[in-house]
Amino acid sequence: MLWIALALLAGVGTGVLLHTDISQADRYLSVALMALVFLIGLGLGSDWKRIMGIVRRQGFRMLMTPVLTVIGSLAGGVLGGVLCGIVWRTGLVIGSGFGWYTLSAVIVGDALGTEMGTLAFLSNIVREVLAIVLIPWITRWAGGAAATASAGATATDVCMPVITRSAGPEWAVPAFISGGLLSLLVPVLIPALLSI
């Protein structure tokens, strides 16, 4: 889905060229997200019995997605840290942001300084942007659960519409649950890993 990358790139280009006030972008982003989630809910509600049947059949597998996402993200963070020549624990901590760039940057920045805070911010933005662009391809190749895993904590907000558009409306609930659990885990896990 080329249009996903194009819409994102058009936004980046416009931001660079126009020196846009990003506080306004934040407000419109929230409105667009709320409208999207409402429309996804509308579609879910109109086909509620069938979709709940699918969710029930997934059962255990639905809860496995966030668990495996945590393990995969931490392993990837450690390997990334080693490859980048930074302390592996820092890689571990940055990987445990699961794409939630604002919160992870603040916690990491407070504990490890501005440079590592900025790296946490950028790395988690990269994760979110890569997820947005790759979700259609990941869905085709590995299915909706893998697409949900790629989004990490952002499966509950920005990536949810992209997941449901690629994998189908029945993935809205699993994506929301997985992203929600990971979002709850970020403020607990990062401080815990920092104390290792």
Partner: protein, 88 residues
Amino acid sequence: MGWLLAALGAGIGLGVLLSQAVQKGSELIRVLLGVLVAALLFLMGLKIGGDREILAALPALGLKSLALGGLPLIFSVLLVWLFTRRKS
């Protein structure tokens, strides 16, 4: 996250109540969703492109952030893919 949950809940509730009307208008909803996803991604890009601090940090930290953002994503996808492949 609370307001997102509220929007989702309101949508589901209305969808259950007006299921026939919603299913009749499903094509319009699909088009609206496409437009809103494009708008959302454009605004995400605008936020990144309009942030001078992010752009200034990219030359120094770009490759590192690609590794530290990309590898957790790849490992998460691979693990879930391995698990779901075995199950199905």
